[in-house]
């Protein structure tokens, strides 16, 4: 048998052995047996001494070819077996991915805070400052400076908790606006403020009344602020809270600190304006009160109403939340039942 034939035989035998090796160990054994220093191929190469100088390079090249082929077959088989072993392990490690994940404690903001934050961000984007007034206020700021002198009939609209004759729990966050007005330096630009916060009214708590609730009031004063600007701003607020598919209408109203005064209604989102129980069959839902700042309010803060003017608006996040989420009892906001609080995800 020629050396070449011998090599062919070794190759075929070797490839068969490699193929049949079913564990890594066997593959390694085949490698040692075939390609080792004392293996048959080495032996063949030793036999080349007896060949002619012409034959030697041919057989040598063939021997290398066989060795490479076998090495490649061993590597391939080894990969195959390793891959199979990994696959087997992966199968064994398979989980029920539908089992719940491990809990990480996670709290969430109160629904009222969500609404306030959303509106704060909207107005910050339009260049407003956020103002936090005091909750205990003087009658003078809460009422008189807002054009509600003592004995004004409109005071009946806001039954008040008094601490002393002259000190009260604020009934409106606009109680801080006279201070904003008198402290503002108009040479540095317009006054644009938003005052969110807690307010109090002397009401008996029931499904639709709460002695504590929230308000967000805005005020803009500059040399040329128009009622059209107010309309545009209110439309933006309504769209932010309820979506822009709804219509906004303004209608006359009365607030002592604004003239003209308006109320803003939004198309009832529940019935799309057809009329339902939520909108009391009117197709509209009242969401905001607003108006152009009354000249007396500006005058009392030392601002010339001939030169400056502005608008003010106010809305109730509690009422918004009730409308938006169909909450039927305002007390839910202050009882803090976790089954209630956990229902409102951000931007719901």
């Amino acid at each position: 048998m020629s050396l070449q034939d011998r090599l062919t035989e070794l190759r075929d035998q070797g490839l068969a052995d490699i193929k049949s090796a079913d564990v890594l160990k066997k593959v390694n054994q085949v490698k040692v047996d075939l390609l080792g220093k004392k293996g048959p191929i080495t032996e063949v190469l030793h036999g080349m001494r007896d060949l002619t100088p012409e034959e030697r390079p041919k057989v040598g090249a063939y021997a290398n070819e066989v060795r490479d082929k076998l090495q490649a077959a061993i590597d391939h088989r080894r990969d195959e077996l390793e891959q199979a072993a990994v696959n087997k392990q992966l199968v064994a490690e398979t989980l029920d991915v539908t089992l719940p994940g491990r809990q990480v404690p996670q709290g969430q903001p109160h629904v009222i805070t969500q609404i306030i934050t959303e509106l704060e961000d909207l107005f910050i984007g339009m260049g407003y400052q956020i103002v936090d007034g005091d909750e205990v206020e003087e009658d003078y700021y809460n009422f008189e400076r807002l054009n509600l002198p003592k004995d004004h009939p409109a005071r009946d609209m806001q039954d008040t908790f008094y601490i002393t004759k002259d000190v009260l729990l604020r009934t409106q966050t606009s109680a801080d606006q006279p201070r904003s007005l008198e402290n503002h330096d108009f040479s540095k630009g317009p006054l644009k403020v938003l005052s969110p916060g807690r307010v109090y009214r002397r009401d008996t708590d029931d499904a639709t009344h709460s002695h504590q609730f929230h308000q967000i009031e805005g005020l803009v004063v500059d040399k040329h602020i128009t009622m059209a600007d107010l309309k545009g701003t209110l439309t933006l607020v309504a769209n932010e809270l309820f979506g822009d598919q709804f219509e906004v209408r303004l209608r006359p109203s009365y607030f002592p600190f604004t003239e003209p005064s308006v109320e803003a209604d939004v198309t009832c989102f529940n019935c799309n304006g057809k009329g339902c129980a939520i909108c009391k069959q009117t197709g509209w839902i009242e969401v905001l009160g607003a108006g152009m700042v009354h000249p007396h309010v500006l005058e009392m803060s030392g601002i010339d109403p001939e030169v400056y003017g502005g608008f003010a608006f106010g809305l109730g996040p509690d009422r918004f939340a009730m409308l938006k989420y169909g909450v039927d009892d305002i007390r839910n906001f202050y009882l803090n039942d976790v089954r209630f609080l956990s229902q409102f995800y951000k931007k719901g």
Partner: protein, 805 residues
């Protein structure tokens, strides 16, 4: 104010649907609560003629009636009303008809006799009991004799009318009358209203002055006008049906011709009137003054009232007979025996009437109008109209002349405004003609000079004084829908949260990511809860007149409110609750009228923050879990001064062995610990841990200037030490000592084990720490670390009596 559409048609040509009219009023003038249709839901209720009426054989009160309902044959109806009689025109609910209260009437048998329907009283048609005239309250209603049998009854009772229920704002008192509303609608629809004419005939021979004399002692501010007329030979009787209909459709009860006439004129002119029985006056003498302390008056409702010095009263010979503008007195009430009427038309000060109405809890149609103001130019016209009407309805005569106790010179208000100003404020581009036309529609005489409108505002619109008021008139009549929609222009401003606002938002976010849900509790609570958990000693701020004993006092801590929330949840079987609140507490300040409002942050946790699940066991909250949350938050603030937790027994509501005061440097900023079991029991909550932090103080404290620390290129070396030590030695003591003796390269001390269970002697505990050494500039030499570590070990042994293991 209820506005009858039928009545409105006396003034204006209106044929649009009531809903459209209501919407127009709402968009242009005042809010509308709804349109009332009295016949809504009623069906097959017709006029019937009682042909025959005989007693029921098996009953002592029922009657069997044969009733012509416009069909070929009369129908038999059994009726229990005491006033039913043959010959009457009555209200018949036919079989399968619908009457008030969504009630269906069916053919039935009553004690053996067939009844094909029902004869109805007004309240059975859905009339409010308060509106049904007293004389027909106990029986069926008798329709006029000329009614046609078989026709629906609604037109005979004014039930086919549509009534617009307006909610009038305090500034639009002028719309609390038909005349005012008609003027408003005339402006809206650009019509000229037909106003009511007064047709008064006086008895020239009989001078009112001869019988009636008036003195007004109260000042001109309190009583600017006081006038009376005297009507004689009046017969008191029920009003004709047309008047009763107008009265009940306006939401009032028909009483008699005189009272109904005053109410009708009140509705028409908005001028409250009061009719006195002249013969009950003392010699025709009337005087108007403030009441004196101790005086009493029995009002029409039968109440004996103690008068206050702020009450304006009408007197006769100085004896109070009427609470001015609010309610009449019983003694001078118009009764069936009355023949002469002293009729008052006056103006009283809004504030005075408001006080009287409030103090006596007497809110009437009259007081409501006085509080909002009334037309100073119409008192006499209304008085004449009412006198004429009373004379006509009661076949009486009006004596000659008005008796004037006080009068004033009423001048219209002149207001000037430029077109430029109107457009500047509204953001519009209205023309001179457009605005002129609006003033013309309002019927405000106006002259135009260049750009300026000089507007004469009639007394019927007393709400208008200043240019801004005219801008409102223009805006609403022009229509808010027609205004452009823009955003403010002008110098741009930067909007952003200030440092405190940002820090508050950050605090909330951190609490939520730590697993606490935001609560908003009540700021007002009981006195004892308000004082509980106060971080600093302070007096409380208390309401002057609280509504309930539960809400009297402003809180000094947030924890107390959170515990109420926990109790609410625990009572509803929610045992795992983790809440935080961020809000104000109110420390009273001596010498200051207002308390100091301080932002606080507090948390309260009960149960487990993680529920038992398929692979997790619930771990009930403990001190160290809530402390970890607090520490994590404080770390996020990057405070310059060190934070320390000092065991405290100072908070009575907290567990004395499980509470720490929290200091930053030497400033107390809060506390954390377990709620005292006794307190927990009182609040009806389970084991609870809580913290309260002075958020304002934390925000104000100096923050570390954050700077990059190079990460050492050289390896660190660690050494572990385990020791047995007395229970009384705290972790803080040990860590402080290790840091003190640790040498320059000690970087970190980490407690990795604490054990005081089995195999640890009584009064001892076993602690184990890892000490990490590192040099920024060089590789540490093992021997140097060992030397430094040995120093720590000997200090622990010598200074703290530790037994190193």
């Amino acid at each position: 104010m209820r506005i009858s559409y039928a009545w409105l048609r006396d003034y204006l040509k209106l044929d649009l649907p009531a809903d459209e009219l209501a919407e127009k009023i709402e968009r242009t003038a005042v809010e509308v609560d709804g349109v009332i249709r009295p016949s809504e839901g009623l069906k097959k209720v017709v006029v019937g003629h009682v042909l025959e009426c005989v007693p029921h054989p098996n009953s002592d009160h029922l009657h069997i009636c044969q009733v012509d309902v416009g069909e070929a044959d009369p129908i038999q109806i059994v009726c229990g009303a005491p006033n039913v009689a043959a010959g009457q025109m009555v209200i018949v609910a036919l079989p399968n008809s619908w009457i008030g209260g969504h009630t269906k009437i069916k053919r039935s048998k009553m004690r053996g006799e067939v009844s094909n329907g029902m004869l109805c009283a007004l309240d059975e048609l859905g009339f409010d009991e308060k509106l049904v005239p007293k004389e027909v309250a106990d029986g069926i209603f008798i329709l006029p004799a000329d009614a046609t049998p078989g026709e629906p009854v609604f037109s005979y009772l004014g039930m086919d009318d549509e009534i617009i229920d307006m909610s009038v704002t305090p500034n639009r008192g002028d719309m609390l009358s038909m005349n005012g509303t008609a003027h408003e609608l005339a402006a809206i629809y650009d019509q000229t209203p037909t106003m009511p004419k007064v047709d008064l005939t006086e008895d020239a021979a009989d001078l009112a002055d001869d019988d009636l004399n008036i003195t007004v002692q109260a000042d001109e501010q309190a009583v600017p006008q006081y006038k009376m007329r005297l009507i004689k030979h009046v017969t008191i009787k029920p009003s004709p049906l047309w008047l009763q209909i107008r009265i009940w459709n306006a939401g009032m009860r028909p009483i008699n011709n005189v009272v109904d006439a005053t109410n009708y004129i009140l509705m028409q002119y908005g001028q409250p009137l009061h009719a006195f029985d002249f013969d009950q006056l003392d010699a025709g003498q009337v005087n108007v003054r403030f009441a004196k302390a101790g005086e009493q008056l029995t009002t029409l409702d039968g109440e004996e009232r103690d008068l206050l010095a702020t009450d304006l009263v009408i007197c006769s010979n100085d004896k109070p007979i009427c609470l001015a503008g609010t309610m009449g007195g019983l003694a001078t009430e118009v009764t069936d025996q009355t023949t002469s009427i002293a009729l008052e038309s006056a103006i009283f000060d809004a504030v005075k009437i408001r006080k009287t109405a409030h103090n006596h809890n007497l809110h009437s149609e009259a007081s409501m109008r006085y509080e909002r103001g009334i037309d100073h130019g119409a008192t006499e016209k209304a008085l004449d109209a009412a006198a004429a009407m009373i004379a006509k309805l009661g076949n009486g005569t009006v004596t000659s002349g008005v008796v004037v106790g006080r009068d004033e010179d009423v001048k219209p208000v002149e207001v000037a405004i430029t077109l430029t100003r109107i457009n500047h404020v509204l953001g519009t581009d209205l023309s001179l003609d457009t605005v002129s036309d609006l003033f013309k529609r309002l019927d405000f005489p106006t002259t135009v000079t260049d750009d300026t409108f000089n507007v004469t505002v009639p007394s019927r619109r007393w709400d208008i004084h200043i240019p801004a008021d005219l801008i409102e008139e223009v805006a609403r009549l022009y229509g808010y829908d027609n205004l452009p929609s823009t955003l403010p222009t002008g110098q741009p401003t930067i909007g952003k949260l200030n440092e405190t606002q940002q820090a508050i938002r950050d605090a909330r976010k951190l609490m939520e990511s730590a697993g606490l849900t935001q609560a908003i509790s009540y700021s007002l609570t009981t006195d004892s809860k308000a004082r509980a958990f106060a971080l600093h000693a302070s007096d409380v701020t208390t309401l002057d007149f609280p509504m309930s004993s539960e809400r009297t006092t402003l809180r000094l801590s947030l924890i107390a409110g959170l515990l109420d929330d926990l109790a609410y949840n625990n009572a509803r079987k929610e045992q795992d609750v983790a809440l935080y609140e961020q809000g104000r507490v109110f420390f009273s300040q001596p010498e200051q009228v207002r308390p100091k409002e301080v932002e606080h942050l507090a948390g309260a946790i009960t149960g487990s923050m993680v529920k038992t699940a398929w692979d997790t066991a619930a771990t009930p909250v403990d001190f160290y879990q809530i402390k970890g949350i607090v520490a994590g938050y404080l770390k996020s603030l990057a405070l310059v001064d060190p934070i320390s937790y000092v065991a405290t027994t100072a908070h009575a509501e907290m567990h004395p062995g499980r509470t720490a005061d929290i200091y930053v440097g030497d400033q107390l900023v809060g506390f954390v610990g377990q709620i005292h079991p006794t307190t927990a029991k009182a609040y009806k909550i389970r084991e609870t841990y809580a913290f309260e932090l002075d958020l304002a103080a934390l925000i104000a404290l100096p923050k570390a200037r954050q700077q990059y620390q190079p990460i050492s290129k050289f390896p660190s070396i660690t050494r572990d030490v385990a020791m047995l030590i007395d229970d009384t030695v705290t972790n803080a003591d040990i860590v402080a000592l290790i840091h003190d003796k640790g040498g320059a390269h000690l970087q970190d001390v980490h407690l990795f084990d604490l054990y005081n269970g089995k195999h640890v002697p009584e009064g001892k505990k076993s602690l184990a720490y890892t000490l990490t050494y590192q040099d920024q500039a060089a590789t540490l030499v093992d021997e140097d670390v060992t030397k430094a570590f040995d120093k720590v070990l000997s200090a622990l042994t010598e200074d703290l009596g530790a037994e190193i293991r």
